[in-house]
């Protein structure tokens, strides 16, 4: 047997927009073991709950990650609202849901672009991001921000969206859908994409479940688990089914995300069609959060958990975030075992690593 070589992968790597480091132990071209090491983005923001009061903390929560920003804010607010026993008005709930789905689409499009770039298909990267810009425009028009929305606050949302804008959003969704379908066809049918992804990084449903995989990684292995099924926000009132694929390889993970984009477009339409009228926030003057709760939401990358513990003070006692990528590290290590060196970037990208989430 040849000697094993250790190749460092990252933290600064052309395919990675973010720093994650892997030590790849290689036997010839085959990966024997992959050892991830993180900590390049660790800021320690969970402890910031000691400095910022529970209202301000929503801003920090949103900045855990710039891609899943809105859903982080939403999760945090949901937790605090539950601790304080606040009932958020339905209009705010529906708008939150619509924004969460928009943020899912933009995240998935972003990922599709990056993964296309990882397997050397640059024009596809450009096309995915072109469509993403169309969506970011809608987000900017309705919330005011491009990546950090800042529209979610404890008790509701910051700003209402008028009916005219909502109609415009509905119209633009059609354009986005048409443009997306074109790109999705390339992802589905192109030989280059297939050759780089089919049969690469296969993980069985049992392994995925046992290793605690979440989100598209778990669903691509044939396990229908989507935290939105809990029915938080407006999901309980909308019609949808979790997207599942059976193959468990990189292609399946790609397919799950492609189908989820279409699903999210549909969910946004449903939100817009059923948008209730009324208030957008409740006041909670003088109230303070008390007790503890565990909130779970579905992010573009999978299930996210927030544990919050409060004792009636202005500041939370403990704020803990378990992000989807953190749960997907163990499955990633498993998938990398035995793959080719050239496939490593593709496999790493198919878990959609979000390092700043992971390390907080």
């Amino acid at each position: 047997m040849a000697n094993t070589t250790i190749i460092p992968f990252g933290p600064q790597h052309p395919v990675l927009p973010e720093p994650i480091h892997l030590d790849l132990e290689l036997d010839d071209e085959r990966v024997v073991q992959a050892l991830p090491s993180i900590g390049y983005v660790h800021r320690g923001l969970e402890l910031l709950a000691e400095r910022h009061d529970f209202v301000e903390m929503a801003q920090v929560a949103e900045r855990i990650c710039g891609i899943c920003s809105f859903i982080h804010g939403q999760g945090y607010c949901q937790g605090i609202e539950r601790l304080m026993g606040l009932e958020v008005p339905p209009r705010a709930v529906y708008l939150r849901t619509a924004w969460a789905e928009m943020s899912r689409i933009q995240s998935h499009l972003l990922w599709l672009g990056l993964s296309a770039d990882a397997f050397g298909f640059e024009s596809l990267f450009q096309h995915s991001w072109r469509i993403r810009e169309m969506l970011v425009d809608i987000i900017e028009e309705t919330t005011g921000g491009r990546v950090i929305f800042g529209s979610c606050k404890v008790g509701g949302i910051r700003k209402d969206v008028d009916a005219e804008t909502l109609q415009r959003v509905n119209r633009r969704m059609r354009e986005i859908e048409a443009a997306f379908d074109e790109v999705a066809n390339i992802f589905r049918a192109d030989r280059t994409v297939k050759q780089r992804t089919v049969g690469v990084g296969v993980m069985s449903a049992e392994d995925a479940y046992a290793l605690g995989a979440v989100g598209p990684v778990l669903r691509a292995s044939g396990f229908a688990s989507d935290t939105r099924q809990l029915g938080y926000a407006a999901y309980g009132e909308l019609e949808w089914e979790p997207v599942v694929e059976q193959a468990g390889d990189c292609y399946a993970r790609c397919e799950v995300r492609l189908r989820e984009i279409s699903q999210s477009i549909d969910l946004i339409r449903q939100c817009l069609a059923n948008m209730p009228e009324g208030e957008i926030e409740v006041t909670f003057k003088g109230k303070r959060p008390k007790g503890e709760t565990m909130v779970r939401l579905e992010q573009p990358r999978g299930e996210v958990c927030y544990y919050m513990s409060a004792n009636g003070q202005k500041n939370l006692e403990r704020f803990r975030v378990r992000t989807p990528t953190f749960a997907n590290i163990a499955p990633l290590v498993h998938m990398l075992k035995g793959c080719d060196l050239a496939d490593v970037p593709v496999i790493v990208l198919t878990i959609d690593p979000c390092v700043s989430c992971t390390e907080r």
Partner: protein, 149 residues
């Protein structure tokens, strides 16, 4: 050595960025903003890069990487710090693992504010860095002449 007036190659590193500025930076490269029309190319290799774009603040681990990447870039070079975190630590300034802005470890030439910084302002920052880069290249040439004569 002749120095190209335009077309800088950029190197991007996310120090402890939340991704917000990183996506905006990547968005600059894509069709809507398309900085490649100015010849700006994103490279993964510090040895090919002219402008170093850093997003996010410096923490225990990333400061070594930032220093390293900066040291590996050939002169003349310019550094652009992007986003509130890269300027001062931003909202994470008080977090236990954050040292503060990028200027804590390497000299910064252009500061691009914003949380997240908008693509327009990032492009503006790169253009300003270009002027600094040109000036540095000129100075180097002048110094060379003085040494030669």
């Amino acid at each position: 050595m002749s120095f190209l007036k335009k077309s800088p190659w950029i190197l991007h590193y996310a120090a402890t960025s939340c991704n917000g500025c990183d996506i905006e930076l990547l968005a600059c490269l894509t069709p809507l903003y398309d900085v490649e029309r100015f010849g700006i190319v994103n490279t993964g290799n510090p040895k090919h890069a002219d402008i170093f774009l850093v997003t996010g603040s410096v923490n225990e681990e990333s400061r070594k990487v930032v220093e390293n990447l900066y040291a590996q870039m050939p002169d003349p070079k310019a550094v652009v710090a992007i986003g509130a975190c890269a300027l001062s630590g931003g909202i994470f300034r008080d977090a236990y693992n954050v040292y503060g802005g990028i200027d804590q470890v390497i000299p910064v030439d252009v500061y691009v504010p914003g949380c997240a910084a908008r693509p327009e302002s990032i492009i503006d920052g790169i253009v300003q860095a270009l002027a600094i880069l040109e000036e540095r290249a000129r100075d180097r040439k002048r110094q060379r002449k003085v040494v030669a004569s």
